[in-house]
């Protein structure tokens, strides 16, 4: 395969192998003895679009299934009515080569799904034991103008994922995609799949225009709280958004986009007193990095002190509720001054509330050493963040990988 390196030249690449690409991660794993440490990745991805022909067979509605079959096959040359795209350049215009090259990667022609083979390759290289697996293009499906399309597609995806992937490989789990634009379909999804094997919680993609305080969601929050599973909000971006549409360099679209939608939902979550209404519901914020949390803690506390009448359900400062929420670590900002990061860790109670995530194979992925090598963490804190916090949060049975597992002391 050839990748253009400028407007005239190309670099040719003969093969692509995830294990080879990640060999330096495997070396880090061995140097740090990470094989002996429980590592749970709370956010990684596969490319469900590559399995779309299989997935559409799980659509119940006969008319929509036929429509999806047409577009997931050779296509018609027209736009696919199921996918809601956004322009973007996540791979820095091909510089992050695993994007253009992934199609070249060979996997054994056996009964194991290609996505399982590919996932285990990078997991083994990093020393990861279990992951929460999420889709990729579907992270933009919340922008679809028709809620029915999101509901139908996500239901088919969830059926396929639980039956064809999670059942087959116990190291792969998920927080189930919820079609949040349709509150009733969201509730039914939790009801129908909440107890399925490998479903450790529920995930709402933040990039959408539905406020979390809507009364229509309260029964779903109650049900999830009752189940004792966490609810996560996963960041993404939309260059079509009116505000983000003012950015012309994708670095800005990304830096803001992956944070701003989660920021809006988190503020609404707090100001409407949802932590008081659902005190046992664990909420997690995924893929917004960490620097946004101290920003909002200070901003919300400051406004709340002056305007507490607008958030009368709150009994404490917003930052105190935020310090009880869970956060995924990636993409973790690395300021030159480590004091800045250390203070952020203190503010979010990282020792119990932070969960490492890779986001692999996406462009801004983090390897476990970003946590493991931090100079201000002790061994217990490292182990908590890299695996134990997630194990506890999901009540994960790790006995197949660690028969005598003991939480770090």
């Amino acid at each position: 395969m050839e990748i253009p390196t400028d407007h005239l030249n190309k670099m040719s690449v003969a093969e692509f192998d995830t294990s080879k690409l990640m060999i330096n991660a495997a070396r880090q794993r061995d140097q740090r003895g990470l094989e002996d440490v429980l590592i749970v990745d709370v956010d990684c991805h596969h490319y469900e679009n590559e399995s779309m022909r299989e997935i559409v067979e799980f659509i119940d509605d006969p008319v929509l299934r036929r429509t999806a079959q047409v577009y997931s096959g050779a296509g018609t040359g027209a736009n696919n009515p199921f996918m809601m795209g956004s322009p973007g350049s996540q791979d820095v215009a091909g510089r992050v080569t695993r994007y253009p090259l992934r199609k070249m990667e060979e996997t054994p022609e056996d009964d194991t799904h290609r996505d399982i083979h590919l996932s285990l390759r990078w997991m083994d290289a990093m020393g990861v034991d279990y992951v929460m697996l999420f889709p990729t293009p579907m992270l933009l499906l919340g922008l679809h103008p028709v809620p029915e399309y999101e509901a139908v597609m996500s239901r088919a995806y969830n059926r396929w994922l639980t039956e064809k992937i999670l059942k087959e490989e116990k190291r792969l789990k998920t927080m189930l995609y919820l079609p949040f634009n349709d509150p009733d379909a969201t509730y039914k999804m939790v009801q129908d799949f909440g107890d399925s094997e490998g479903v450790c919680g529920f995930m709402v993609v933040s990039t959408r225009y539905k406020p979390v305080y809507d009364n229509a969601y309260m029964k779903t929050y109650s049900l999830i709280e009752e189940m004792g599973k966490p609810l996560a909000f996963h960041g993404s971006y939309s260059w079509n958004d009116q505000l983000l549409g003012n950015t012309n360099r994708f670095l800005v679209t990304h830096a803001l986009g992956f944070t701003i939608f989660n920021a809006v939902h988190l503020c609404n979550w707090i100001a409407n007193g949802l932590p008081e209404r659902f005190p046992k519901l664990n909420v997690m914020w995924i893929e917004s990095g960490l620097a946004w949390v101290p920003w909002l803690m200070q901003r919300l506390d400051n406004d709340y002190r002056m305007r507490s009448s607008e958030a009368p359900l709150l009994k404490r400062l917003p930052s105190e509720y935020m310090g009880e929420m869970f956060y995924s670590s990636q993409p973790m900002e690395m300021p030159h001054n480590p004091d800045v990061l250390e203070m952020t860790f203190k503010m979010i109670n990282a020792e119990t509330q932070l969960c490492w995530s890779s986001d692999y194979p996406h462009w801004d992925m983090d390897v476990p050493s970003v946590i493991w090598d931090l100079p201000f963490l002790d061994e217990k804190q490292k182990k908590n963040i890299i695996g134990e916090n997630a194990r506890k949060l999901y009540n994960l049975d790790v006995s197949d990988r660690f028969p005598n597992y003991q939480p770090p002391v």
Binding site: M11, L21, N24, R27, V92, R95, T97, R98, D364
Partner: protein, 122 residues
């Protein structure tokens, strides 16, 4: 005396070529570009990715007119960049400096051509 690592026969590293050779636990990436040789450890100072396995690309520059208006972008082939494939950090081929933040750099090695061979000094 400094140890030398044989990279390749001189005529097997043509202009524009890159060769990655094992050295202990890691590898060294050796480049010949515009007649000059460069060698760097294949470990990125960011998260440890195999920087030398990525693309070699010209520096991107903005074209700004006299009146400060933006006129597009262009490639500057006088400054070539090694682009790490893990996340896209770019390194100046001539110095190994990370171009966006020169506090970071690739580990550089001396590299010479002699007796029809290319050698890295360890």
């Amino acid at each position: 005396m400094a140890k030398e690592l044989f990279v390749s026969k001189a005529d097997e590293l043509a202009d524009g070529d890159r060769k990655i050779v094992p050295n202990g636990n890691y590898e060294i990436g050796v480049y010949r570009v515009n007649g000059e040789l460069f060698a760097y450890q294949n470990v990125c100072p960011h998260q440890g990715g195999p920087a030398c396995e990525g693309l070699l690309m010209a520096k991107v520059e903005e074209v700004i007119a006299e009146d400060k208006t933006y006129q597009g972008m262009t490639f500057n082939h006088d400054e070539m960049h090694i682009v790490c494939p893990w996340h896209g950090w770019e390194f100046d081929l001539a110095t190994g400096d990370m171009v966006a933040d020169r506090k970071f750099r690739l580990k550089k090695y001396d590299v010479v051509e002699k007796d029809d061979g290319v050698y890295v000094t360890l």
